[in-house]
Symmetry: C2
């Protein structure tokens, strides 16, 4: 804990402003809170006094008095596979930008698993992904703190969530491959502890099944989202007696790794292997072969969550939770090609 103002520089308070402006502190408060019922003349005097004194109302006093807080806590699992990604940064950027636009303070909390959440002071909470920290979400809900979950469809709790149609996205990716004539389609998963990776796997299976194609466990290789494991996964696939002609990879960064490996083996993408990623990470654009991928609206999800949360925070009565699933979009570029039969 720290002494905010030291020594002689006493904090200027609403009272100083009132004195200088020659009005009551109530009037000053009204000006601060933009309550219309203040005479224009007084309003002006107060505003001038505020400017002259460089007065800034104490958030702590305001919050004490109102019981409201405009602090948004963003809870992100301190989980390597998640945190180290294009995804996390996009999220933070999207949320950070909108928070500052809406004058909300953004509190960042890297959550280690299920340790009790420190709720003090947050007026609202955004849970980014729920990985072994479900109890924190429940705690927040129990305490009636407006909360919203993103990138995770939570169906069994009364909480708003905004997630992404991972299953649909995966399905469309695999359907595309099938439409190109591929039959031997492998899937390199992300970390299945995340809902996104699990859903993408589901989508992959679903597409195969709907097209009456066999789902072989040999063609499904699990990873932790890291490039290292993506590489091993791809190596494993290539060594198979009956290797796939196409692969759907659960993230772009892993897909790029697979692509790199293919080249090292003196093979060609898409000639020898068609690849579809997931994310629409800009990195996919730079290589010699632009990556075909599934675009997911990360920034939109982030921003929607802030908007939605700020609504919840303002609302007087508890709102009925919304469950939003954002659509994805297949972005066809150069990493796939029709299979010659």
């Amino acid at each position: 804990m720290v002494r905010i103002r030291k020594g002689p520089s006493k904090t200027i308070s609403i009272e100083d402003v009132a004195r200088l402006a020659g009005v009551s502190i109530t009037t000053v408060s009204r000006v601060i809170n933009k309550i219309p019922s203040v005479k224009a003349k007084n309003r002006l005097k107060v505003q001038e006094a505020i400017k002259e004194l460089k007065f800034e109302p104490s958030v702590f006093a305001q919050r004490l008095a109102t019981g409201k807080s405009n602090v948004v806590a963003l809870v992100i699992p301190r989980y390597e596979g998640i945190f180290y990604s294009f995804y996390a940064l996009e999220l933070i950027r999207g949320i950070g930008t909108l928070c500052s636009a809406l004058k909300l303070d953004l509190l960042l909390r890297l959550a280690d698993s299920s340790s009790p959440l420190n709720l003090k002071g947050a007026g609202g909470i955004i849970f980014a992904d729920i990985i072994s920290n479900r109890s924190q979400l429940i705690e927040a809900l129990d305490n009636h703190i407006p909360s919203i979950v993103i990138n995770n469809y939570v169906k069994d709790l009364e909480v708003s969530c905004i997630s992404i149609d991972n299953e649909g996205g995966a399905e469309s990716a695999v359907n595309y491959l099938i439409s190109l004539g591929h039959r031997k389609i492998a899937h390199i998963t992300g970390d299945l502890i995340t809902q996104a990776a699990a859903q993408r796997l589901q989508g992959y299976k679903k597409a195969l099944e709907k097209n009456k194609l066999p789902v072989s466990d040999d063609y499904i290789v699990k990873t932790d989202y890291s490039r290292g494991q993506a590489r091993s996964a791809a190596e494993k696939l290539f060594k198979m007696p009956n290797p796939p002609t196409a692969v759907f990879v659960s993230s772009d960064s892993m897909a790029l790794e697979v692509m790199a490996l293919v080249k090292e083996l003196d093979k060609d993408v898409p000639k020898d292997l068609s690849i579809v990623g997931f994310d629409d990470n800009p990195s996919g654009l730079y290589g010699p072969v632009a990556l075909t991928t599934v675009r997911q609206p990360l920034v939109k999800m982030a921003q929607e969550s802030v908007k939605e949360l700020s609504l919840l925070m303002k609302a007087q009565k508890p709102q009925s939770p919304k469950k939003i699933v954002l659509p994805t979009e297949l972005v066809i570029r150069e990493s796939c090609r029709p299979l010659k039969i």
Copy 2:
């Protein structure tokens, strides 16, 4: 849907605890603040009451009463080249982790240029990079808010800063290339609006000069740190009548792009071009040719900054600022080779 416990949740205050425990609120306050002078018996009663009521003191009331805050604000320029990087994520992770260990709240503020900083409530500020937001730093200093700057050596202000020896790192990279026999060494810079990129350019020049090698502007290509511009830069270099045999690139992610381009042109790293990057980004490890690079202690810098700041926040008197420059380390891998003469 699972129904979460609902009901009139009046905030329980220190007074409720006092009543239940049969003591005064002062005693409760003492227990909360771990002041030893409370009889064991009372302490126990209070602790039980706290547990029973699930009481959590209001941070706002505490801060109002004490004038102290344990909130650390992290100010990051909302600057694409910076923010979209390995660097930003490492920083956030390092700072976030240590803050939660030290029970400090982390407020994230994406700063758009020089808009006035909203100081309210922060007990301390970490400025990550200073890009066109110098006025915010000065504002913080003027208000005697403990502040610390990282990744930027600010020599003309009385503020502690922890930066990285970019110049030295660059110099050692180029020296290494020279020791390998290279004479035609190019440099692809980062965005020179950042101090890091500017210092790396300086280091590059210095190394050449010390070795009596000519510094040619043609060999220095400026970028904004993006992979796209890195690619163009490399293309430009290759098209030169007298192309370089080695290139020092201001970031690993750009270096990887250059490497990719070389391969596309059916040339080889390091046979046809030696490359050194900067960052020690794990991505550099995965390709067929591991990237030689300059390791910078990003996480250490982040963590040191929190430690240092928490000291400043605790200190009663203003401390004399420390200027720390963290060393880098050349990590030799496979992307360079001796030049045949």
